[in-house]
């Protein structure tokens, strides 16, 4: 989504001298904090961020040239889809986070209750009967994906709740700390937001402290944070790379930014904090382990399968008796909107990213916001379509998904020149190639599904056509 970030990863240690100018600038404008994320296998560029007044400046830096990349004019997946999955982008009173927490808690309850009501859990452990009737097949699929992926489903729902534990269960932290901020300060070592008395104080060069930090930590650096840059109370914190363990790095060193004296050693975490870090690490997957990341992806798909087959089974079981009721129609519409609708919305987001011209402003909305609007609009329309045309909704949306997925791959090639073969031949483009291949595979499956569903398109009931095709 950000073609300018497609550059090879530099394996040699980063020279901090190229960031000194930006740090000095942050000091000049009295930014309270300056942060630098160093490149990793997932992010080949360095990311600089600091605050200028109320505006948060966020820039990518090419380490080869030392140049800041132009504003990408997109939130990209990490700026939109990633926060969407835990906050729904509803920041008011953390309502989005609470909604997602409620969903995660519901999933935990459903996982446990699903096991309890599954009377023949052991005898059906490996049971999958594709030749049986449609309802039996759906139930087998639901059981298989649910039971065999159960550890994964529970781990993900639970660790998601653990990450936002201080939001959902603030009483725990408040019973020990006077404020939540004090809890966060203790969790991260200590607070360095001291009140500066003087600015424009000469500081020790980052490079000198970085050499010392590397030598002490004995591992590559991951993040550098400078509190109150350019002031008399400047503090520089170096954090080790997070990629070598599940929990992420606990190796943190803090220097006095003015004198360059080491003032903070790696934190000694309490056992409970080790557990918290491990559980968060399980969910955040910041580690470098390609095999595990692919397994996470596949098991994530099994979670989707469990949810979809559960939806379809629910509908199939009630279609004869409650098919005409308003509640049934709502669930039916929601099912199509949540299953194929959100895939369509995501594809619309990808396609808008490639089609919208740079610098476009429409109805006062910049390019990045227009991409997000494309996502929400398509999702809304797809849900409405599913609700009003349930009998043809699945087949129709599947064919659109297929077209959308192939179009996204084609647009990537046309607008960036990185076609699949080219991406496969260059190591640093493998993530692009993987994305293209997943899109092609998804498009093919959707096309196959739409063809199978079209055979039963004359059927009044969506579920029955889905079931027949299955």
């Amino acid at each position: 989504m950000k073609p300018s970030t497609r550059v090879p990863v530099i394996s040699s240690p980063v020279s901090f001298s190229i960031f000194q100018k930006s740090l000095n600038e942050a000091g000049r404008i009295h930014s309270p904090v300056w942060r630098l994320s160093l490149p990793s296998d997932r992010q080949p560029l360095a990311r600089l961020s600091y605050r200028e007044g109320d505006v948060f400046i966020n820039r990518l830096v090419n380490l080869k040239t030392g140049q800041r990349l132009p504003e990408p004019e997109t939130l990209g997946a990490s700026g939109f889809l990633y926060p969407f999955h835990y906050s729904l982008h509803i920041r008011f009173m953390n309502i989005g986070i609470w909604c997602v927490g409620l969903a995660a808690m519901s999933m935990l309850v459903l996982c446990v209750s699903g096991v309890v009501i599954h009377r023949k859990i052991f005898s059906d452990f490996f049971t999958f009967r594709p030749g049986k009737n449609a309802r039996r097949l759906l139930l087998d699929l639901h059981n298989l994906s649910g039971v065999l992926g159960l550890p994964f489903h529970i781990i993900f729902a639970f660790t998601g709740l653990v990450i936002f534990g201080s939001v959902y269960f603030p009483s725990g932290a408040k019973s020990v700390y006077p404020t939540l901020q004090a809890y966060f300060d203790d969790m991260s070592g200590s607070s360095f937001f001291l009140k500066p008395k003087k600015y424009d104080v000469p500081a020790v060069l980052l490079e000198i402290m970085a050499i010392q930090a590397r030598a002490i930590l004995g591992e590559p650096l991951g993040i550098v944070v400078v509190f109150n840059p350019g002031s008399d109370v400047a503090r520089v914190r170096f954090i080790g790379s997070e990629s070598h363990s599940v929990s992420g790095s606990n190796n943190t060193l803090t220097f006095d930014g003015v004198t360059g004296v080491l003032i903070g050693q790696p934190l000694e975490l309490k056992p409970v904090m080790h557990v918290q870090r491990f559980l968060s690490g399980l969910h955040l997957i910041r580690f470098h382990h390609w095999g595990l990341r692919w397994l996470y992806f596949l098991l994530g798909l099994s979670s989707c399968l469990m949810i979809v087959s559960g939806f379809l089974f629910w509908l199939a079981a009630r279609r004869k008796t409650q098919g005409g009721t308003f509640g049934f129609r709502i669930v039916e519409g929601l099912t199509i909107g949540c299953v194929s609708g959100i895939i369509l919305a995501t594809l619309a987001f990808f396609i808008a990213n490639r089609l919208l011209p740079a610098g476009i402003i429409c109805f006062g909305q910049p390019r990045a916001a227009l991409e997000v609007w494309a996502f929400y609009l398509v999702w809304f329309v797809a849900s409405l379509h599913g609700w009003f045309c349930p009998q043809r909704g699945w087949a129709c949306q599947m064919i659109i998904i297929a077209v959308g997925a192939f179009t996204a791959v084609l647009l990537n090639w046309v607008t960036t020149g990185d076609h699949l073969l080219y991406s496969l031949m260059h190591r640093w483009l493998w993530p692009v190639a993987a994305m293209d291949m997943v899109l092609l595979a998804s498009g093919t499956v959707a096309l196959w599904m739409s063809l199978r569903l079209s055979v039963g398109a004359g059927e009044r009931i969506v579920g029955s056509s889905v079931e027949q095709s299955l």
């Binding site: 490996f126 999958f128 065999l148 159960l150 596949l298 099994s302």
Partner: protein, 117 residues
């Protein structure tokens, strides 16, 4: 890289074998592979062997990848391989017939091991 791929393939093999043994101790899956009913004593024995294989896979994963990654790898691979066994029984159970036959030999898995030697 090649060694890592070989190791993970081996790990998948051990887990797959363990789950295939567990699945084939159940009557409906034995029937799908044309096997006979096993004596309950033999079922216990085969399930013990499968459990040992699962423990061995966990041990190998932890030795190779460390406790954090190893345990995570084991649990995710276990889910994946169990699913593979279920799909294999559903679509091509014939491929598990040799294992079914071995489980019926007089000395069971020990006998098979001795014959290999």
């Amino acid at each position: 890289m090649i060694l890592a791929v070989l190791f993970y393939t081996g790990l998948v093999g051990v887990l797959y074998g363990a789950f295939a043994l567990l699945a084939l101790t159940q009557f409906q899956h034995r029937r799908a592979t044309g096997g006979r009913t096993l004596l309950s004593r033999r079922v216990v024995y085969i399930r013990s062997v499968a459990t040992l294989l699962l423990v061995l896979a966990l041990f190998l994963a932890i030795m190779h990848d460390g406790s954090g990654f190893g345990a995570l790898l084991w649990i995710t691979l276990a889910s994946g391989t169990a699913c593979m066994v279920a799909l294999r029984i559903a679509w091509h159970p014939g491929l598990l017939i040799p294992l079914t036959r071995i489980m019926e030999w007089r000395f069971g898995l020990t006998g098979a091991w001795l014959r290999c030697l």
